[in-house]
Amino acid sequence: MNDLYHVTAAPHARSPITTRNIMQDVCIALIPASLFGIYNFGLRSLLVILTTILACTVTEYVYCRLMKMKVNPGDYSDVVTGLLLALNLPASIPLWMAVLGGVFAILIVKMLYGGLGQNFMNPALAARVFLIISFPAQMSNFVVEKIASPTTLDYINSGAVALDGVTGATPMAAVKAGETVNLLQLFVGNHGGTIGETSALALLIGAGYLLYRRVISLRIPLTYIVTVVVFALIFGGQGFDVNYLLGQVLGGGLILGAFYMATDYVTSPGSHKGQIIYGIFLGLLTGLFRVVGSGVEGVSYAIIIGNLVVPLIDKATRPVSFGKERAKVEK
């Protein structure tokens, strides 16, 4: 019996892309933004990043052990959640809160709903919103001790200030007021905000990597951002003001949300058409929150609300099977 071979049903070939290396790619793509965050806000950012990642991986490991499930197969999805959560937190956050956020993301949002692939909301964003609601003051303290805490929740409208350079209003607030801002500074990210959201440049470098590796497509991010711009153009009350519109794009975590969180596979639609609808929907919500609302966290709320309608979008946009088009029309 020395000529026995494996017997399985076709196909016998497998693509080299696995869940694990998709998640690794996302981590790699977030490195520039993380490094910029550390440069911009100091080493404490690194501490926050390590804390949330550790909190997420430990929570998943412990949960799997307690539930007698197969222990984390090393797919890096927990690392992605931890890293994204950290990039969505201010560098000054007390570490126990960061831990709480990580535990909430993995335990409540992910594992209790069935683990990887089953969560209906993006765990990192859900945890961020949970922290914002629970600890509004700490979550909006963007300035690492050097500058007094802003009085309102919204750094955009308040006065969170970058470490060097722009003082007074943030770029977004200045934009809103119709003032000219240093767009270059806004683009590079040398201003206040959460650890990972300030530098459009760093985020776009990572996004370029993800696009190149085909981990994400442009469908969701592009429709999302374009919709935000169009919404701001029509309802923003500033008319066609390049400064104002670019400020909308580069500020307020839109780039981070659009490229890294709205594109989360688990919580976004599967079909191309669905993804475009989803992007537009997110854009409308974000625009609405920014223009009409008091402006707190437009992007995060828009995405987690968007997450909730994904099953509906999926249902409505199921592709028509090849060669069945006519049958559909006749019905």
Binding site: H6, H12, R14, S15, S271
Partner: protein, 441 residues
């Protein structure tokens, strides 16, 4: 009308460079030859010889039993040693005729006689194809004479010759296109003579520029035949994809190409038609690729049907080391077997030996990445069908068009969570069809 590609599909590692530039070698069998009576779709053939009979090259040893069935022809001269069940590539035991080769290759009368198809009636042509035991050589094995006799022959607008050969590693069609393109064009012309309103299309993937050039030169004088260059993408050679790409017409699982005015034949089938009609030579040989990283000397052999695969492995200098998996056919739709002690049939295009079984991987949870939906050439939602299948929800499986699946394997190939999507969908599809047959009976 014509397009260069279809929606969906994948780009697996091609592996064709291992064998594509090596000329085909004729390999004569040493041992006994085994002819399963079922090498085609439809009813198995009935043996028309008995143990002890002396048979000749080109002699009919199995006769088509019914309309959808096919003759089986002896490829050697010799004595019938046994008629017994033998293992075939699907893993089943099938009644087979075993012939002891006398190595003299005495031929039946009229073998190889030149004929002018233009002087033959349509009925004579179809009869010649049927007698020669020709079936679809691309792998499906559908009797060609049946394909050439649609209900309304005037409604056929296109005769499509499938030279896509989109399965990785396989180059048997490619070598045929390079070495004997005249036979393929000859076969196409014979088929075209059956359909007065039809145009001929030879579809070739753009990774075969040499073949494209040869055919363009060969058909330059025929206004009725065109070479259609299609993009290299799997499953470009799938019937539904190929008809769509060449004519813009769409087929679903309930339709045959003839329903949209098309007749599709593989290049090797066209060449076999030419040999049967113009040269009175029945189907007794085919080109077989032996390839894969486990094979010492990957190449193509022109072998007699019935030859044991062990002889082909030997002729390719054996394996570098024990392969983990061997596959008959391409890696996407071919069949894995636990042994290569089986014989070459009309439809086995290759033997592939792999040192590492890529499919031996553990499944992980679906991350809803949507890649399976993106690559499905039929725009199905494979992951959902697989879940419905696993839950035995046949009603919703059918409603979601699960029966449309052509089994190309693209979804399983691409799945980063390594789910056995194609496998589950095909299993449920077969289960639904079996239940329907049961309900009918």
């Amino acid at each position: 009308m014509g397009k260069s590609t279809f929606m969906g599909g994948i780009h697996p590692y091609e592996g064709k460079e291992l064998t594509m530039d090596k000329p085909t070698t004729v390999l004569l069998p040493k041992g006994e030859l085994v002819f399963p009576m079922s090498q085609h779709i439809g009813a198995p053939a009935k043996p028309v010889v008995a143990v002890g009979d002396y048979v000749l090259v080109g002699q009919k040893i199995g006769e088509a039993d019914g309309y959808i069935s096919s003759n089986v022809i002896s490829s050697v001269s010799g004595t019938v040693k046994a008629i017994e069940k033998r293992l075939v590539v699907t893993g089943k035991l099938v009644e087979s005729i075993v012939i002891e080769n006398d190595h003299e290759y005495k031929k039946i009368e009229g073998y190889g006689k030149e004929r002018d198809y233009k002087k033959m009636s349509k009925q004579e042509i179809r009869e010649a194809v049927k007698e020669a035991g020709i079936v679809g050589l691309g792998g499906a094995g559908f009797p060609t004479n049946v394909k050439l006799a649609p209900k309304d022959e005037d409604a056929i607008d296109y005769v499509i010759i499938n030279g896509a050969e989109c399965e990785p590693y396989l180059t048997s069609d490619y070598r045929l296109m390079i070495e004997e393109p005249e036979k393929i064009v000859g076969g196409l012309k014979i088929i075209l003579s059956l359909f007065k309103n039809a145009k001929g299309i030879i579809a070739i993937e753009d990774n075969k520029p040499e073949a494209i050039k040869k055919f363009q030169e060969l058909v330059s004088a025929d206004s009725n035949i065109e070479v259609h260059i299609v993009k290299t993408k799997y499953p470009q050679g799938g019937e539904r994809q190929l008809v769509y790409v060449t004519t813009g017409r769409k087929l679903n699982s309930k339709k045959l190409p003839a329903d949209v005015g098309c007749v599709v034949n593989n290049v090797a089938t066209a060449a076999a038609v030419y040999m049967a009609v113009a040269k009175s030579t029945p189907l007794t040989n085919r080109i077989v690729t032996i390839s894969g990283d486990a094979v010492n000397n990957p190449q193509n052999f022109d072998v007699l049907i019935g030859t044991n695969f062990g002889e082909i492995v030997e002729a390719a200098d054996g394996f570098k080391q024990q392969p983990e998996k061997i596959v008959f056919g391409g890696p996407m739709m071919g069949m894995a077997m636990y042994t290569y002690n089986i014989s070459v049939t009309k439809t086995t295009s290759s033997l592939l030996g792999f040192l590492v079984d890529e499919a031996a991987v553990e499944e992980s949870p679906c991350i809803r990445c949507g890649r399976c939906t993106e690559v499905c050439p039929l725009q199905l939602v494979p992951v959902q069908l697989a879940i419905l299948g696993a839950h035995n929800d046949e009603e919703r499986f059918v409603k979601m068009d699960g029966l449309e699946c052509c089994g190309c394997g693209s979804c399983s190939y691409i799945c980063p969570a390594r789910k056995g999507l194609t496998q589950q969908i095909l299993q449920t599809k077969n289960q639904v069809l079996a239940n329907r047959r049961k309900a009918k009976a």
